[in-house]
């Protein structure tokens, strides 16, 4: 088996008065590409934020590469939801990607030509080389997402967390992003993605984590992507269309 790069034990987190995550346990192996799925309010974003110390932990532990988040920060990359940023900020795409390197550049030092080149290469990988000098509010949603991806790539992390990177992007961008994720996997990196679309999970991810406030099931897609698990997670009835899981109807209140 591969090395365990992420281990979560008994993680519990709350948001105001409500417990959003309870008793979350799972282990992630190196080189896996995991889709995190669950209904609205299941705590998917909160899970990532809690693991990355962006949200307080009520109880439990999180270990990266056998150590703590703080010590392993440099090996972890994060692509947050696109809506979390002010796109009117006076900066260009290349700049945004370079920001991914600020942690490495360190205090009081300027970004160098080398850093600029690394940023440019990352943009190029995402097909955005032509837009390097474009002010970011002039980019379409899909392009902005690609810039965000490039920013994560440039950090050259060993494990990546992405929060709904494919939400609201055009088909071309979706393909570009999934291509990159496959490349990362091929390079031995680990990727965990909060995915918004249950239907495409089987196509894109080799592992699935079903989450609804706690881990319903986690494992290889082939093993765990079943009607039962989906029903348990989403708490509703599903209809099969042509043998594939086609339409999930779940009640509004969980």
């Amino acid at each position: 088996m591969n090395e365990v790069v992420l281990e979560v034990k008994n993680l519990t987190a709350a948001y105001q008065k409500n417990t959003v995550l309870r008793d979350v346990n799972f282990q992630v192996e190196a080189g896996s590409l995991t889709g995190i799925v669950g209904p609205n309010g299941a705590g998917k974003s909160t899970l990532i934020k809690t693991m990355l110390a962006l949200h307080p932990v009520l109880s439990g532990e999180v270990h990266f590469f056998g150590s703590t988040y703080k010590k392993m920060k440099k090996r972890i990359g994060y692509v947050p939801q696109r809506g979390s940023v002010d796109w009117d900020f006076p900066t260009i795409a290349l700049d945004v990607v370079m920001m991914g390197l600020y942690g490495q550049i360190g205090w009081l030092r300027r970004p160098t030509k080398t850093h600029q080149r690394m940023a440019f290469e990352a943009l190029d990988k995402m097909g955005m080389a032509d837009y390097a000098n474009r002010q970011i509010s002039q980019l379409s949603g899909g392009q902005q997402q690609r810039v965000f991806l490039a920013r994560a790539l440039v950090q050259n992390a060993d494990i990546y967390f992405m929060d709904e990177p494919l939400a609201g992007v055009d088909a071309a961008t979706e393909r570009a992003i999934m291509k990159i994720l496959d490349e990362l996997k091929a390079a031995g990196k680990t990727v965990m993605v909060v995915h918004h679309d249950l239907q495409t999970v089987a196509d894109y991810f080799d592992h699935v984590l079903f989450l609804n406030r706690t881990v319903i099931k986690h494992g290889k897609t082939n093993d765990v992507y079943t009607e039962d698990n989906i029903a348990t997670t989403y708490g509703g009835s599903i209809r099969l269309i042509g043998g594939r899981i086609g339409n999930v109807v779940h009640p509004v209140k969980q």
Binding site: T12, T19, R22, D23, D88, T214, V215, I216, A231
Partner: protein
């Protein structure tokens, strides 16, 4: 000191600051849920040039004239803020800060000129920090009528205001005239502000519009109750604050009203039934206890979800 209370002029002043406080508390609740708390600060500062211009044009210190000038100036300010926000990438808080300081600066320019050309202007200066005690009976009538008007309009259309605040799109779907309500809201806000400037001053009127409303939140989840409590806090702050400042000779009333309101806030913050610090602390302890009791294996939880 108690003889002050028996003075009928003081009684009128106290009554009007009470009514003003009630109006401020009421409209302040609306502003809070509209997430526009500081707009009152911006508009209050924007009102200053209007006051001075009205004075310079009409050469009288008649309150109604000055109030109208203030209102026009404030509305122009509101218009500019909206305009900047919607036509450029400049955000609302920046637009507010700009209009606030530029209009106020312009107002100070005019005030300096007015003070120079027209002798004793302590009256105009009162608009900066407030001076309820210097109100004359006609002023009291003007203020009270306007304030009562404001409260009435909120009360009459209460259900409509509620929906307008919480779910604009739904309100629009019901056929409520959103643009019209926006205008009415702005007028109510501006009226309360310009009326309140006499008592609390330009710099601090925002306090009377913000603090009672926020304080009320700690006592209830019901919007209606919140508005009522807010109005009460506002009225109490206005009255008691004016009373206290009457002890000193010629002390501005604004600061005392604000400190009163802040005291109510702190009390609400700590002891409030809903979300007060003490209450939350106990709830958290209770919750933690529940968590320990509830560490049931997750297989049971999965059954729940099913």
């Amino acid at each position: 000191m108690w003889s002050i209370l028996l003075n009928s002029n003081t009684q009128w002043v106290l009554l009007s600051t009470a009514i003003l406080g009630i109006a401020a508390g009421t409209i302040g609740s609306l502003a809070y849920w509209k997430r526009q708390s500081l707009m009152s600060d911006a508009l209050a500062h924007a009102a200053l040039p209007g006051v001075i211009i009205a004075f310079l044009l009409f050469k009288v210190k008649h309150l109604f004239v000055l109030i109208t000038g203030a209102a026009i100036s404030a509305v122009i300010g509101a218009f500019f803020i909206q305009g900047i926000r919607s036509s450029t990438r400049i955000k609302e808080d920046t637009a507010m800060g700009m209009i606030l300081s530029i209009f106020y600066g312009f107002g100070i320019m005019l005030l300096t000129i007015a003070n120079r050309t027209s002798g004793n202007q302590s009256g105009l200066n009162n608009f900066i920090l407030g001076q309820s005690a210097s109100m004359v009976q006609s002023d009291v009538w003007t203020m009270s009528i306007l304030a009562i008007l404001v409260v009435s309009i909120v009360v009459i259309g209460f259900k409509e205001w509620k929906i307008y605040l919480f779910d604009r799109q739904f309100a629009s779907g019901l056929g409520l005239p959103l643009k019209g309500m926006d205008v009415v809201y702005t007028i109510l806000l501006v009226t309360t502000i310009v009326v309140g400037i006499q008592a609390v001053g330009v710099i601090l009127i925002a306090a009377l519009l913000i603090i009672p409303a926020v304080s009320a939140r700690y006592w209830t989840h019901s919007f209606q109750t919140m508005v009522i409590i807010s109005a009460l806090f506002g009225g109490a702050s206005g009255t008691i604050g004016t009373l206290i400042s009457a002890i000193g000779n010629g002390w501005p009333t604004g600061p005392f009203i604000v400190v009163l309101a802040a005291s109510f806030f702190i009390i609400s913050l700590i002891f409030g039934k809903e979300k007060g610090i003490l209450v939350q602390y106990w709830q958290m302890k209770h919750h933690k206890k529940q968590e320990i009791l509830q560490s049931i294996p997750t297989s049971v939880l999965k059954k729940e979800v099913q």
